[in-house]
């Protein structure tokens, strides 16, 4: 199977807050093809989670959403709550940053896996149990049979995240959304979990969205990257192109802020000064302008729109980084 599996069209999410309306997602367009991986990158608070909740139709009750989310030919905004719930367990799965968000603390690992499987697939108890054991083994949990009787709190953070992945994979979803699945974990466990996701994705020909604040995490593991800032997608390109010809100053700044392995100790890091803007007080100009070292002229008065440079490379900037400059 190929072709577009998910498309988000002109999504806008508004959240009422005591400080006024907060636009968490601002006119976002995205598409993910079957079997492909999209990375969504940006600092904390820039709208990554709200965008993933838009796709999952799991926004806070008070949120106002406009736009369209098409998944496998269906308009998710038009589905009944019942149909949506079925879809989420079955074809559209999610792994959150904190595995305890997806796991139930009072149920054993086995109960959670078996119930999920039986709810969505027509399997008997023995078969569902067998499948649970296979899944736990597939995600690298030693002694999977014994684990079925354990509770989430009896496992380490890395093990819990593996279990959450096993639950997410249990019904062979077509799309898996992993929202900062490794941010809370050690680097070695992070590498293992990312390898695990990549392996399972290939095996199952599943599409995946990996959300992270670390460009290092998406570099070798995604087909396309969308960079978000203040609720908008500000640059989007196939991964190799993005790293070769970064055009958006924000993307460049995110990359520069990572510690470099080849730099001598005590080399100051080019940090991005300040913080993302308060989204209840939208700026008139480019949202990145107060922190951007290239800001000039219209940047402070006008919003750059997302435009295509090459057919697949989009960015929103008045003074893009010149092609060929090393990032």
């Amino acid at each position: 199977m190929s072709g577009v599996l998910l498309s988000v069209e002109d999504a806008v999410v508004d959240l009422p807050t005591p400080r006024g309306n907060l636009r968490a997602v601002d006119h976002v367009d995205l598409a993910v093809d079957a079997g492909k991986t999209l990375g969504i990158v940006g600092e904390s608070g820039c709208g990554k989670t709200m965008l993933s909740r838009t796709i999952l139709q799991l926004l806070p009750k008070k949120a106002k959403l406009s736009g369209r989310v098409m998944f496998d030919g269906q308009d998710l905004l038009k589905l009944s709550p019942e149909k949506l719930r079925k879809l989420r367990g079955r074809s559209l799965a999610v792994v959150f940053q904190d595995p305890m968000t997806s796991l139930n603390p009072v149920l054993t690992i086995g109960t959670q896996l078996i119930e999920t499987i039986q709810e969505h697939l027509e399997l008997g108890l023995a078969q569902a149990r067998q499948r649970s054991i296979e899944l736990l083994a597939a995600v690298g949990i030693p002694a999977p049979e014994q684990r079925l009787a354990q509770y989430p709190h009896q496992l380490s953070g890395g093990m819990r995240q593996r279990v959450a992945i096993a639950v997410a994979l249990s019904c062979e979803p077509q799309l898996l959304i992993a929202d900062e699945p490794t941010t809370a974990l050690d680097v070695t466990i992070q590498a293992q979990i990312l390898d695990l996701l990549a392996r399972e994705q290939q095996r199952r020909h599943m599409a995946m969205i990996i959300i992270t604040h670390d460009l290092g995490v998406v570099a070798g593991r995604t087909d396309e990257v969308a960079v978000m800032y203040a609720g908008r997608v500000v640059e989007r390109a196939p991964t190799p192109l993005l790293f070769k010809q970064m055009r958006m100053p924000y993307t460049e700044a995110l990359l520069a802020a990572l510690p470099k392995l080849d730099a001598a100790p005590h080399t100051p890091l080019p940090a991005i000064s300040g913080r993302p803007p308060d989204q209840t007080r939208p700026l008139k100009g480019c949202s990145f302008s107060p922190r951007c070292r290239y800001a000039a002229g219209r940047c402070n008065t006008e919003k750059p729109s997302l435009r295509a440079e090459a057919p697949q490379h989009f960015y929103a900037c008045f003074h893009p980084i010149a092609a060929g400059v090393d990032a």
């Binding site: 600092e43 904390s44 690298g140 030693p142 380490s156 953070g157 890395g158 093990m159 974990l185 050690d186 680097v187 070695t188 466990i189 992070q190 590498a191 293992q192 990312l194 390898d195 990549a198 392996r199 604040h213 670390d214 460009l215 290092g216 995490v217 570099a219 070798g220 593991r221 991964t239 190799p240 790293f243 700044a253 995110l254 990359l255 802020a257 990572l258 510690p259 470099k260 392995l261 730099a263 001598a264 100790p265 005590h266 080399t267 100051p268 890091l269 080019p270 940090a271 991005i272 000064s273 913080r275």
Partner: protein, 322 residues
């Protein structure tokens, strides 16, 4: 074997053993660790979650009693000190925690939080306290007039970490243990805080023990790096040397696990699956052997001693990579 770094180190930890007892079982959190930190040096300490990094830090500060071993700070045995002299010594050593928000009292104002160590250590003049607090807040990049009267929940994680750093600096210490100060922060704020720590180090003439699980972060700020696994020290050496030529298989594994922002470098899939074994019953011989690609029979029977593998570089391995 001792990795002597100077004839007069600021901190010298010798054969430190720290254990916890849980439900009648012993957790071997720190087992026979020795290290030194020279004056003005930053020693990075890395290892996976649960390997004993924080326990080591707490034992150095005497916040946790060691089973055996010694901690010499500026030549003084901290465990043997009591009362006034211990309090005086404590002022010279401070701690910064991983979770900046949780480590600030939610009901107290920032000005009072930062002033608290001054109150405890007996600075009575409120104007003097105010001046010192205002100086350190400015030093960490916060506007004292704007922040002093506010509560912690009004600040982001990065700003809370700045406040914690200010609080640690307020007594003008010589040595700060930074326990994963940036693990909870995202890439851009992490860079700001790392730069700030470096600046403060120069400005206040500090010596640092910098704890983290991310070797790339540790390398950015450390002169030397010590690698820990399941309570034991695996390797210690100058940062660049350790990166270029790791001797211990575990150090090599940690280096390989760092995500590289280059799409041409496909992540290798060679990291052994699994997590460290339980510190209640650590493996015999080398504790890393259950995940080590080079393990053999000797590794199961004999504990590898830390020995020199290159100038200033020491590793505890029977079959080092160099």
């Amino acid at each position: 074997m001792m990795q002597q770094v100077s004839s007069d180190p600021l901190l010298k930890v010798e054969n430190l053993v720290v254990e916890y007892s849980v439900g009648g079982k012993t957790i071997h959190a720190v087992s026979d660790v020795s290290l030194e930190i020279a004056r003005g040096e930053t020693l990075g300490l890395v290892g996976e979650s649960g390997c004993g990094k924080s326990t080591l830090g707490r034992a150095v500060l005497q916040l946790r009693q060691a089973v055996s071993g010694t901690v010499l700070f500026d030549g003084h045995d901290l465990a043997a000190m009591q009362g006034d002299s211990l309090r005086k010594m404590r002022r010279r050593v401070q701690l910064i925690f991983q979770d900046p928000i949780a480590s600030l009292n939610p009901r107290r104002r920032i000005g009072d939080i930062v002033a608290e160590p001054l109150v405890i250590s007996g600075v009575k003049d409120p104007n003097k306290r105010k001046q010192i607090v205002s100086d350190v807040l400015s030093a960490v990049g916060l506007d004292p007039a704007l922040v002093s009267g506010r509560l912690p929940h009004e600040f982001s994680g990065g700003q809370c970490q700045r406040i914690c750093i200010a609080r640690a600096l307020v007594l003008n210490p010589e040595f700060i243990i930074c326990d994963e100060p940036v693990s909870a922060l995202d890439v851009s704020i992490r860079a700001q805080i790392l730069n700030l720590l470096e600046e403060m180090k120069t400005r206040y003439g500090l010596t640092l023990l910098f704890i983290a699980h991310d070797l790339a972060v540790v390398k950015a700020v450390s002169d030397r790096v010590a690698v820990m696994y399941l309570g034991r020290l695996c390797e210690v050496g100058p940062s660049e040397q350790l990166f270029a030529t790791p001797a211990h298989p575990y150090t090599a594994l940690l280096i390989e696990a760092i995500p590289v922002p280059d799409p041409d470098i496909r992540p290798t899939q060679s990291i052994p699956v699994g997590e460290p074994p339980s510190p209640i019953a650590p493996p015999s011989g080398c504790r890393f052997r259950t995940r080590c690609p080079r393990a053999d029979a000797r590794c199961a029977s004999e504990v590898p001693e830390l020995r020199m593998v290159a100038p200033r570089q020491f590793a505890a391995c029977h079959h080092p990579l160099i």
